[in-house]
Amino acid sequence: MTNCKRRQSMNNVFWQILRAVLLLFVQIVVLNNIQLFGMVSPFLYTLIIITLPIKMPRNYVMLLGCLIGCVMDVFTNSYGFHFAATVLVAYARPFLMKLFATRENMEKLYPSYTNFGNAFYYYAFAMVFLHHFCLFAIEAFSFYYIGLVLLKTLCSSVFTLILIWGIETLKIRRK
């Protein structure tokens, strides 16, 4: 590995951390207060897990998911909701990625629109849907509300995906 490349990857790690902190900040300060029609409550911080490097070891992803989930739990005054949901998507990440991305896509460094094309949005939506469903299901904690949970999951996931689409578009524009 050349010096230049290492610096680049160090740079990337730095940017990743900064982005993660920024996303968490936005989530906690702004998005946590959004409750549209009692149905839509986006959790954009899932994007941190979604866009982690493709080759990152799965255990690290899960531990990072655990850390992020804990931070979210602390700031939403819940115990274990985000923890469980984030660890779940961290574990499911490789499956979902393989489901939508081509082999060629998997050679890239990060999942993103520029790297994956439309497959990125499918993959992102699957991740977001799984995460939101897990979160709302734990919140309801009963099969009685399964219909409401699914509706809420769908609405919130779509909203979160719109936010992700916005961010991806901004990234492309900046370039």
């Binding site: 255990n59 899960m62 115990y79 274990g80 923890f83 660890v87 009963s142």
Partner: protein, 273 residues
């Protein structure tokens, strides 16, 4: 061991995942009031139904010991009952002084009903204080009389034995008769020596007389199902349906008479003279 490590390293993602989720759900269930209440409700339901199933299965395994225990308890309670009865009624003849009787529960280990001379074997013997000529009963009624005793077992001459003679009487009228069996029907015995002047009819209850000092007075034998008398006969022909189901005997009670020796001694001297 290396297999185990290979397994662990192969599934390390999944194991870590499970570990983290377990931690998460432990947190969820323990620290959130609503989730805690739902979980405890479901938990109680599941535990309740599971344990009711397991206990209903386990009950079958303990059925044997439970039965034995209940039989023992039954004997003890009967002892107690008799003691109380006799303490209430101190003036009574020795054969009727019920405190003279003691009860031992026993299990039937062998039983025949399809011969002329039917007998039973019980799992109590001389070490348990069983001796010949003790009565054997169940709460339903009379079973027979102990014939011979070994260390841990005893044989019982069943009522369904053509040699067997038991002193019985019609309840309420106190007329005595002798109960024997004609070897035909295993649910019906005959009552002999019932004189012509006695009023006896179908449905009358036949109980032990207590005169032989084998059974205490008033133990159920059966009910009259037929009472016939010909014009020139001196005695009734009485058929008695046994209260006990001899095919299904399982636990019985041995009745021992504490003053047996004294009684026998007296009887012997009377006969000798």
């Amino acid at each position: 061991m290396s297999q185990l490590f290979r397994f662990l390293s192969r599934y390390n993602h999944f194991i870590l995942f499970l570990l983290l989720e377990v931690i998460a759900f432990t947190l969820i269930i323990n620290r959130n009031d609503y989730q805690k209440s739902v979980f405890s409700r479901i938990n109680t339901q599941v535990l309740g139904s599971v344990s009711s199933v397991t206990s209903s299965v386990a009950d079958y395994f303990s059925l044997k010991s439970d039965n034995a225990f209940l039989a023992e308890e039954n004997a003890a309670l009967q002892n107690e009952l008799l003691r109380l009865k006799s303490s209430k009624n101190p003036v009574s003849a020795f054969a009727q002084s019920d405190s003279a009787f003691a009860f031992t529960s026993a299990k039937v280990v062998y039983n025949t009903v399809n011969r002329f001379q039917n007998s039973l074997i019980l799992d109590k013997g001389s070490t348990d204080g069983v001796r010949p000529n003790m009565g054997v009963v169940t709460p339903q009624g009379v079973v027979g009389i102990v014939e011979s005793v070994s260390k841990h077992f005893c044989t019982v001459i069943s009522v369904l034995n053509i040699e067997s003679r038991i002193s019985g009487k019609v309840k309420n009228s106190n007329y005595l008769g002798s109960i024997s069996w004609d070897g035909k029907n295993t649910t019906v015995v005959q009552m002999e020596e019932m004189p012509r002047h006695v009023e006896i009819k179908m449905g009358d209850t036949i109980v032990t007389s207590g005169h032989s000092a084998i059974f205490m007075e008033g133990m159920m034998i059966g009910t009259v199902i037929k009472a016939e008398i010909n014009e020139n006969d001196a005695y009734y022909k009485v058929d008695v349906r046994l209260a006990n189901r001899f095919q299904a005997l399982n636990y019985v009670t041995i009745v021992s008479f504490a003053l047996r020796d004294e009684y026998d001694e007296l009887q012997k001297t009377t006969i000798n003279e």
